[in-house]
């Protein structure tokens, strides 16, 4: 989740008269997790559903609501203008079909604000922009651009000076040589045509979604901004624009509209929407008994506008709050405005009778039996490695189930049996005193339309006198005392076990497991200096009673 650093003194200026302590104590109640804090700054993590919290301007709006300094919805004031136009050519439809944008004038941009805007842009790209795939933003110095603009396609030979470069580069060079080109160039696929925004003097303004032109770079001297958002879905692009517009207005800019036409594009509306919620749904869901005026006051604290019509609360939702899908989201807004700290937890008597699952009960009995036999319980991950599961124990690795792109080499394959892990455990304990007797019950996995999960028991005993007779006694007693069943052992050959000292475990004429003395090569592989005996038995199919 994205993290933003908030400067206390800036935030205090934006919010109004509140202390640092009040701010740091209130941030969690906006849903922001405090990561760290010092005298000057506080770092908070925000949820991707609230992209407006990607700047301190957005967070200040939220805090003002909680503190009651300013409540109610944030209205976008967009001056009507016919001065700014973007025309879209049909050739773009198959590549990145939509463009939208807004003009923001007469703002002051200092270093801090520039930093906030860059941070916001990055977070929007990563979050709702889905790494620029869905939508991406370009923010430009308006005074360097001559309208009308053209959103069209061009070839990969098209040249301009991109941001942070001093010389002209072709689109191909930008994609192969610049950092953003390398990161995002793949979004354009192999297409010979790429999107481009060109101004009326044929100067390149932007090469979405990769990079802006150097000429429109925003600096601390910039007063007026042109913001463009391009994307593959019109509504998503407008959603992103609504966040930027709201933040720029909060930062002191005056907004003016842009007229967009051509190839199914149209001017952005950034309209508020109305949504109504029954006050009884609010009270039932929250376990409260609030009257409509208290509900409306709570919504206003969450920076929404609302009126009551009978029992219904009709809410006005600004465009940037596209995280609000339906009435239940409004219920949460009431809860936040009311203050989570003001909820008194209650407990209603249970109408149901609790029950432990029979599988848990049976496994618990088995654990107790094994402990009675003197075995210590071990726990290993179900996700193991080829080394532990197959290589070290000499097992066949043809039917492995592996996971993609694991960050940990020790966790790449789902185990199909448990005992190799237990032998590996022994190898980490050769300095501990013997006998070492351990067991594990747990799930094992096999490919079976698509995957079957079964419960196995594996038992290992290691000490200087360990032998087949000992481990067969353990097996026989565990199953007799644990489940009241008799098993047999029939000679078998298994690459993990010593020849002539290995048997299949037979129950009801079916092979349910393997038992024997572990092959000395395996023990040597792990540098264990005592004999090891063990067994593994499948419990799911016939031994555990049906769940």
């Amino acid at each position: 989740m994205p993290v933003i650093t908030l400067d206390y003194s800036r935030l205090q200026k934006l919010v109004g008269k509140v202390s640092k302590k009040q701010i740091s104590e209130s941030l969690p109640f906006l849903g922001l997790d405090v990561e760290s804090e010092d005298e000057k700054c506080i770092r908070v993590e925000y949820s991707p559903n609230r992209p407006d919290y990607s700047t301190d301007f957005g967070i200040a709006l939220g805090l003002q609501g909680l503190f009651g300094i300013k409540t109610g919805g944030i209205k976008l004031k967009i001056k009507k203008s016919t001065q700014y136009k973007i025309n879209v050519t049909p050739s773009i439809s198959k590549i990145r079909p939509y463009v939208t944008g807004i003009i923001a004038k007469n703002g002051k941009i200092n270093g801090d604000i520039l930093e906030q805007l860059i941070q916001m842009q990055e977070d929007l790209h990563m979050g709702i922009g889905r790494k620029r795939k869905k939508s991406s933003i370009g923010i430009h110095d308006l005074n360097k651009i001559s309208f009308p603009l053209l959103y069209t396609t061009t070839t990969r030979n098209h040249k301009f000076i991109p941001l942070n470069s001093e010389k002209e580069l072709s689109i191909s060079e930008i994609i192969s040589d610049t950092e953003t080109g390398k990161d995002y160039g793949n979004l354009l696929g192999q297409s010979s045509q790429v999107p481009i925004i060109i101004d009326s003097n044929k100067k390149t303004v932007s090469f979405p979604p990769i990079i802006n032109a150097a000429i429109t770079t925003v600096t601390t001297k910039t007063k007026n901004l042109f913001v463009e958002v391009t994307g593959i879905n019109k509504d998503d692009a407008e959603d992103m624009l609504s966040v930027v517009a709201t933040i720029l207005q909060s930062a002191g800019f005056t907004l003016e509209n842009i007229q967009i036409s051509g190839a199914k594009n149209s001017s952005p509306k950034l309209q508020e929407k109305k949504m109504s919620v029954d006050s009884s749904l609010i009270n039932q869901t929250l376990g409260l008994n609030l009257n409509t005026s208290k509900i409306i006051a709570s919504l206003k604290k969450s920076r929404l506008d609302a009126v009551s019509i009978g029992k219904n609360i009709v809410c006005t939702i600004p465009a940037y709050r596209f995280d609000i899908f339906g009435p239940m989201d409004l219920v949460e807004e009431v809860a936040l405005g009311y203050g989570i700290q003001n909820f008194e937890p209650t407990i209603s008597p249970s109408q149901t009778i609790g029950q432990t699952n029979t599988l848990s009960l049976q496994l618990k009995s088995l654990d107790q039996t094994m402990i009675g036999l003197g075995f210590l319980e071990a726990l290993n991950s179900s996700l193991s490695s080829k080394r532990v599961l197959y290589d070290m124990t000499n097992r066949d690795s043809k039917k492995i189930i592996s996971v993609l792109d694991s960050k940990s080499q020790e966790h790449t394959i789902l185990r199909d049996c448990i005992f190799p892990g237990l032998i590996e455990n022994l190898s980490r304990n050769i300095h501990e005193s013997y006998p070492q007797k351990i067991f594990e019950t747990g799930s094992i996995f096999n490919l079976d339309n698509p995957i079957s999960e079964k419960t196995n028991l594996a038992v290992i005993s290691a000490h200087k006198d360990a032998n087949f007779t000992e481990i067969k006694s353990v097996l026989q007693t565990a199953l007799k005392i644990g489940f009241g069943i008799q098993i047999e052992t029939k000679t078998a050959i298994n690459p993990s076990f010593k020849n002539g000292h290995c048997a299949n475990i037979i129950f009801n004429k079916n092979i349910v497991g393997i038992i024997g003395e572990i092959d000395s090569k395996i023990i040597d592989n792990y540098k264990i200096r005592v004999p090891v005996v063990g067994f593994e038995i499948s419990l799911s199919d016939s031994i555990l009673k049906s769940i």
Binding site: F29, G31, D33, S47, P48, R50, R130, Q284, L286, G287, F325, G326, M328, E332, A335, L336, I340, Q341, F343, P345, T346, I347, S348, Q351, T352, I353, G354, Q355, T356, N357, S360, K364, D367, I371, L376, E377, A378, L379, S381, L383, I401, S402, V403, L404, D405, S406, K407, S408, H411, L414, N425, R428, N429, E432, Q436, K437, S443, P450, I451, E453
Partner: protein, 462 residues
Amino acid sequence: MSQVFHDIEKKIINSLKKNPIQTPETLEKSTQLLPDQIRRGIEWLKLKNLAIVDESKSSTLSLGKNGVDSFEKGLPERRLLNLLTNGPRKLSDLQKELGFVFGPAMGLSRKNNWIETSTDEIILKTIPSILPGEKTLQQIGSGNLSKDQIDKIDLSELLKRPDFILENIMTSKKISLTDSAKSMDVSNISGAIDVEANVPELFVARTHPLKDTIDEIREIFVTLGFSEIFGNMTQSSFWNFDALFTPQDHPARELQDTFFLDGVSAKKIGTAEQIRKVSDSHKKNWRYQWDINEARKMVLRTHTTCVTIKHLAEKKPDEARIFSLGRVFRNEKVSYKHLVEFNQIEGIVVGKDANLRNLMGIQREFYKRIGITKIKFWPTFFPYTEPSLQTMVYNEKLGKWIELFGMGIFRPEVTKPLGITKPVLAWGGGIERIAMLKYGLTDVREFYNNDLGWLRSNTKCQ
């Protein structure tokens, strides 16, 4: 009180009765015991207040490198004076013959007025029969000596000189019996054993500490009226994500966060109606082309919520309290904080009373039962619940608030497509985190190291 003695103790006491003050070495000879047995025996008797161990320090002296040189060839000043007995010598010649001791020899001889220097010649004035330090040098050179056998003033002459005299400090033990031991009869009562002696350690077979915590949590939920359900660890993306309103392009569904099974996908993921309604909800709310092949991809479940939602979709209860305990997976780098596989508890309440305050109340009750009383709730975000909260609990040992369970009410976008009509409270969280608090661990990996030393020594009731 009659006391029982070990054979070692008896032998030492008897020997000390004959010869009242001894060293460990003499005891070794007189008792025929091994040095280690003597050491242990003395230690036991000391603890029982039967023996006195008097430790004294003494120092002996020996010659250092320069000391040995002088012992063999004479002190530097003696060598110089000897060279002058046959008349004055040239300074440069003397320098050549004496080498590096020339400087100190000259300095001392001039200071003591034994020689005179003219332009480039050295003349002997007087030659004492014994020079300061010479007697001591002879004494030490012929055998190590203890410091108090030496003339201190004469010794100080030599101690000033670098690498001349080495001082070795030695500890010696003198063992004697206390008065009560002297009169003690050490012949044992027949057949008696030493009931106070240390005994060998035993290792108990036991359940894994993490399993104990899981059992404890299971018990709490059962007593709160919850029934346990199980489900698979391998799940289709449909139940792990789609049914929980997580869009198919959500970052949580990328390889870097979730374990996808290589080349494994599910043929049947749900009923036709479930699939249609879930996909409609995605298309309408998230505005994208929902792809059934994405939903078929098998993953290692990232939470147990897929198990509970599947159960609800199947049973559609009007009233229920259900919980699920099991392993969940995240594609993370393993560290002291993170595991790729850990246990999660997940609980749900279905019914008309399912509201946010009750959800908070169940949490408070659960925490109380595991001994946590200082808790608070913060809002948070999950794709499938609204409203969503997290609990923060205060850890006295660490002196800070830590995040434990996440919770919320299932979104209508989750419940409606699956035909669940009643509100559903849901919460869950990692069990290792609770177990770490319980066992005072700072590294979560310890639970899966299967270190026998730790497993054998852990206290059961904590």
